[in-house]
């Protein structure tokens, strides 16, 4: 159990809260992993960790209020108690990306599970090649982590592209889907890794554009989402064909799962 130390209202329906991990001696995780968060008296839900992996004193989660558990969780205030189980799941391929160009492609709330990886890569900038962050949101008012995006864009060693699906003419940014930004991204297809997170159909389209750009399915990683209950591969709720998203994922390599992404029953 941990205590909420800070709540940040990100969007109308999305909050980030920080949990104080100091009493536990710190909380370590790998970028891409998730925790099962328990709202006492309500229920439990898997939520990706969205903070800086180098800061073990704070555990950060970003939650969108969409259901019976995420609603109450996103209403918690400073001092509230939250049950935490984890971390669970596979991580983004940071080690594999060393020495290579890295593309982060995110849509909507998908930027939250990618933020720890982006933070780590930019903190250890010299270990990687060209860095690109591509992000898409529904409208300009739905852009998540705007300050982070502006900060990353303000660096001289990182390309950032932002697009929205719908906008009025007062928006001077890009309008269109995030896969459309892939075509203009700079990367060496023979020496690059892409990490993709967002709605599954968006990830399918982004992966297609990455492959059209020359990137192999072995170099594209996605974070999948399925309904999870136990988080440890026992209950079967998150079964994805022969794999379990909670323990074999959520981060999975495209070449392993490509044939399953278009199977409706999976």
């Amino acid at each position: 159990m941990m205590v909420v130390s800070r709540v940040i209202r990100e969007l109308a329906d999305t909050v980030t809260f920080q949990l104080d991990a100091s009493p536990q001696g710190g909380f370590s995780f790998a970028p891409g992993q998730f925790n099962m968060l328990y709202a006492f008296g309500v229920g439990e839900v898997p939520i990706s960790i969205s903070g800086d992996p180098a800061d073990v004193t704070r555990l950060v989660h970003t939650i969108r209020a969409v259901g019976t558990v995420t609603g109450p969780l996103s209403s918690l205030r400073k001092g509230a108690k939250v049950g935490v189980r984890g971390p669970f799941g596979s991580a983004w391929p940071i080690a594999e990306a060393r020495g290579k160009d890295v593309l982060f492609v995110a849509g909507g709330l998908g930027l939250a599970p990618l933020r720890p990886a982006i933070t780590h890569v930019l903190t250890h900038r010299a270990e990687f090649g060209h860095i690109t962050v591509l992000y898409g949101a529904r409208t300009p008012s739905d852009i998540l982590f705007r300050r982070d995006l502006e900060s990353w864009r303000g660096r001289f060693d990182c390309d950032v592209g932002v697009t929205v699906d719908h906008a009025g003419t007062e928006w001077y940014g890009h309008v269109g889907v995030v896969p459309a930004l892939v075509a203009g991204a700079k990367f060496d297809p023979g020496n690059a890794v892409a990490m993709v997170c967002g709605p599954e159909v968006m990830m399918r389209f982004a992966a297609r554009d990455l492959e059209n750009g020359g990137l192999s399915g072995k170099a594209i990683w996605m974070s999948l989402e399925r309904s999870m209950k136990c988080g440890v591969g026992l209950c079967g709720h998150c079964q994805f064909a022969s794999e379990f998203v909670c323990k074999d994922g959520p981060v999975m390599r495209l070449d392993r799962i490509a044939r399953l992404l278009t199977v409706r029953e999976v």
């Binding site: 699906d165 003419t169 001077y172 309008v175 269109g176 896969p179």
Partner: protein
């Protein structure tokens, strides 16, 4: 003319066209620049020019009475505008506005139609390329229409 041909050759749209075909097309091309917020084409205008965007960004917009004008798509370097030049009399279905300073090639539609009328191979190559681009944009517009972030 030679340097215009060399620069035209480098535009992504020309990627799969032969040098001979680019040489033919350069006769229909000129370099144009649009100022920020300048309209390149209005909805309803005859789409008589085929633009290859080199620099800047273009906002495709629709005005719906009673609602705010909507930006439906942004075109940037490497994109094209005015794909229906093949059909004499075709009209634009959106407004196209330069958001920032735009540099582009403008190819005259009637000149292009004249060239492909006497060169089937050129016509086939251009039609194929336009179909490929249109298909890709249709895919993206369908994804946009799914409203996946709701």
């Amino acid at each position: 003319m030679e340097s215009l041909e060399r620069v035209l050759r480098e535009h992504p749209f020309m990627r799969e066209l032969t040098d001979e075909h680019v040489h033919i097309l350069v006769g229909c091309a000129r370099s144009v620049r649009f100022a920020p917020d300048e309209f390149i084409v209005h909805e309803g205008d005859e789409e008589s020019t085929f633009y290859l965007v080199r620099e800047g960004s273009i906002s495709l917009e629709n005005h719906v009475p009673g609602r705010r004008p909507a930006a439906v798509e942004t075109l940037g370097p490497g994109d094209v505008l005015g794909v229906t030049w093949m059909f004499a009399g075709a009209r634009a279905h959106v407004d196209a506005r330069a958001r920032v300073s735009v540099l582009a090639f403008a190819l005259d539609g009637s000149c292009l139609r004249g060239k492909i009328a006497t060169d089937d191979a050129l016509g086939h190559a251009l039609a194929r390329r336009l179909l490929e681009l249109t298909h890709r944009r249709l895919e993206r517009l369908r994804l946009q229409n799914l409203d996946v972030y709701r």
